[in-house]
Symmetry: C2
Subunit: 342 residues, 2 copies
Amino acid sequence: MPNALINHQVRLAARPVGLPTRADWSFTSEAVPELGDGDVLVKTLYLSLDPAMRGWMNEGKSYIAPVGIGEVMRAGGVGQVVASKNAAFVVGDHVNAGLGVQEYCLIPAKALKGSGIFKIDPRLGTPTQWLNVLGMPGMTAYFGLMDVGQPKAGETLVVSGAAGAVGQTVGQVAKILGCRVVGIAGGASKCDWVVRELGFDACIDYKAGAVREGLKQHCPDGVDIYFDNVGGDILDTVLTRINRKARIIICGAISQYNNTTPVKGPANYLSLLVNRARMEGIVVFDYADRYPQAVAELAGYLRSGKMKSKEDVVVGLSTFPEALLKLFNGENFGKLVLQVAS
Amino acid sequence: MPNALINHQVRLAARPVGLPTRADWSFTSEAVPELGDGDVLVKTLYLSLDPAMRGWMNEGKSYIAPVGIGEVMRAGGVGQVVASKNAAFVVGDHVNAGLGVQEYCLIPAKALKGSGIFKIDPRLGTPTQWLNVLGMPGMTAYFGLMDVGQPKAGETLVVSGAAGAVGQTVGQVAKILGCRVVGIAGGASKCDWVVRELGFDACIDYKAGAVREGLKQHCPDGVDIYFDNVGGDILDTVLTRINRKARIIICGAISQYNNTTPVKGPANYLSLLVNRARMEGIVVFDYADRYPQAVAELAGYLRSGKMKSKEDVVVGLSTFPEALLKLFNGENFGKLVLQVAS
């Protein structure tokens, strides 16, 4: 193995109030330890920056434990094996794993099984595609849409965060399945891209403020499926337009993650009663045993040109604090990734 | 047919703001018209007073059209056929139908099919039981529990409005199915009754204010099914205690029906995400073709003593405005019915 490697890291220094600031992080470096029997050392290439990371920074029970103060910030990413004392991994293998916001991740033998590490096939997609359509966002989109959304051809699907990581895959898969697809995104350039490049039927610019009117115009037959990545006022507005037996997939609520006041609950939730509709949460990890099937399907769409995959790449580990904020001010255009090495 | 019958009626005079007052009603009387071919005349015995009636008094789209100003107030009830020019009904038949808040209801031949009228078998239950366990509340409880709740033996079910019409059946059926059943009701006497007479495992008195603590104490393994009749703060509190893959049946939100401010949405709805849980609305009319099966099952439980049915009977058509309010101040103890004749 390479000797005397220095690992630069970003650690959680404090629990943020509202938007995380640079003061909530600390930058450390340490030597990469020697590998023991069965260990694998992965060099980080690209890290996935996700809205869910904001939740991991809070105290309190969630679907996953919070990151402890002083710990390396949790992050999924794609890396390359640079040293291995494990027969299942050889130097040069590309892997997707919970690498953390650091340059190197030593995965001990005993932690390998629970680490979610898996080898990726570079022929199916680029490293950043493996963090987007072929990664957690794509899996979230695919299983949320298929298992909770249960789309049927001819139905109308609305997806918020349409130009984001999950939204782009949700909408494109729904189009392939024959749905009418209407996105909601922030700004004219994202909306244009979603319609022109991804083939959505329409996209509503929430920053222009006319979500209600946009839904009336672009969903003349109401909304059968709403894939919600944002929560807040947009969820409440869509609830006024749902059809009987509509399905609302609760995937996230990015509008609420940096709240310093209580979360705004959907005041129009009784529309679920009137319309015999359903609102259901999804956590992607539940579908781990079906990822390979979904990856194969989505990689096929990418290869045949039926789907596109857009990533927004920010370069450099040290830019992590500011890069993460792009998610919350809506600046990212496509799946946000941090390039740590190449 | 009887001649020159006078029909006393209660009509909606104004759309209430907040709790309905006597000024929102008008009292009218008119002669019962002559029957045409195929018509049926029903004498009202008991009317069902339901929280949903408050919604029908509002302007605006719901699962059913609002009652028009000047129209006889909509109400389901049990009556007896007193005149018939229809071969399917003979004088003396007991029926369940949308009779309205009036002494007589003439159902025209052409409206018979859509009126929801059906003959009831007095051997299966008393007229008031036919408005409770064997009527709409019982059907709502049964199908909401079975189709959305999907209870499994050993699971924990919580039901609000536990001493009310829907709640009493939800809890008793869930007990029969082997669930741990915890009610939420207002006041010690209702809570005692729910535990001692209906056999719930526990009942939390929300008027005593300790819903959160009560849930912790009585649902040590969390909540798998929550049957929600009340909405508001109780829904929000239960959301903090649900288990993975929990099912929340949205049946009503009586705490919100007389609001003059916007409905309070469930601020803790992201618990659905964390727990991969579902919140789903139910409207009983969707199950009309399966009522007979449910009635047979529930009547069997009544007959064998496995289930009890409690009605709160208020006497006299003219007391309707005040009787209805018992629902909203929680005064009713059991299914609220108005006895119009006997």
